[in-house]
Subunit: 173 residues, 3 copies
């Protein structure tokens, strides 16, 4: 077996990618969905595997997120799974502050103005009483593109570490 | 709505800030409080919101931290909240190793020698038997200043994601 | 007491170290053990303290890891501790996806082509039903060396935050 080779990336680009995510993800956590979607290209795709869903374009994403992301100041939603929440149109993040924790970010420059970024992600949920719980862990593969000078997410594929993630009660009381 | 713009920062400064926190926070975890406070400016402020407390200057901070930070080798304190621990002078971190987990660090250079840094933070607590629990998540906004060539924390505002954080039993058995 | 001094490191090296870990640790998580061990020097050492074990060289590590790391697609192992798993040869990660979470990475260049890296680490375990749990937190001290142009781990010392870590039931049902 051959030697391990660490993928190289210029420090300027590495730091820009870190700052990109650090300014992108708080918009989602704050439910500022239209601003969040401006960090995605108009022709973006977002996919959850296995056994999940695939969304295309900002409009489809906005519709899905507006229906699901809820309001931290409302009472918590009844116990539900991601799949049932979609079927029954439940805002399953009601009553919760959720935060994304990213780690192990590997940045691999691809074509001009295109990057592949892989990382692991975990979502914490804090309720009004201060109880903290975690969604199943995931690995995320993004393609970032530079358009008009700024990085944007072209595609995101979220692979869940539990095959049953979409049927798990995601906010047990 | 206009384009998303990623805040830029020079790689040298980005890395220095990372190394600053990586050398600052272990001092707090190790209860080396006087050394920890040398990473704050003499006129520092530290504030917990909402419904929390505000401390001014190293001396006030040292007094508070000395009373509260406890000893990992002692038995665990009785169940208490942050608010009651202050009222009854309980060292509520007795018997616990606590670690801060930071993520999503966004660095925005402000004036000369001044930086704004925003991140999310979570505290883990590991007890002698190896049980791990988590305090409610927070978002932290720091102002860092360079004095005599070294970065220091000028102010820290910790916004807790649960409005009831200070009344939560923070170390349930 | 003297001023706090932040250890400096060149941005190119800082980023290379981040990318090194981001390409090293997923190999362990994916149980690609032979590739993982190519990120260690042939004369590497790995030690768990306190009251743990010390391994020397890739061969010893491969033997230990092959016996213990298990298969995420198998049923979960019976409840066990790290110590009993070694005594009774149990693959205690069967049925689990485990991920390492690193934080607070402090990089201190030592001799030519040698770095000291300290960080805190936490292991999450996600089972097939999506339940997430955490092993006790740790602090890790690595020595990295550059050989043939690539960074490799020369030694790793994992200090567990709970003295009883090896006797804890690490995967309670």
């Amino acid at each position: 077996m051959s030697q391990h080779v660490t993928p190289r990336v210029r420090p300027e680009l590495y730091v820009e990618v870190q700052q990109f995510y650090a300014s992108q993800m708080p918009l989602l956590e704050a439910r500022r969905l239209e601003e969040f979607l401006l960090t995605f290209t108009p022709d973006c795709t977002l996919e959850h595997i296995p056994y999940g869903w695939r969304f295309e374009g900002r409009e489809q994403l906005l519709k899905e997120m507006s229906a699901r992301r809820g309001d931290p100041d409302k009472p918590r939603a009844e116990e539900t799974s991601a799949r049932r929440a979609r079927e029954e149109n439940i805002a399953y993040y009601d009553g919760l502050v959720y935060r994304y924790w990213f780690d192990r970010m590997l940045i691999v420059p691809a074509a001009d103005d295109t990057l592949k970024v892989r990382y692991q992600a975990m979502v914490s949920m804090t309720d009004a009483q201060g109880k903290v719980s975690f969604e199943p862990t995931t690995v995320v593969e993004d393609v970032l593109e530079r358009r008009d000078g700024e990085l944007m997410t072209r595609s995101r594929v979220v692979t869940h570490d539990s095959a049953n993630w979409a049927d798990k009660i995601h906010n047990p009381g």
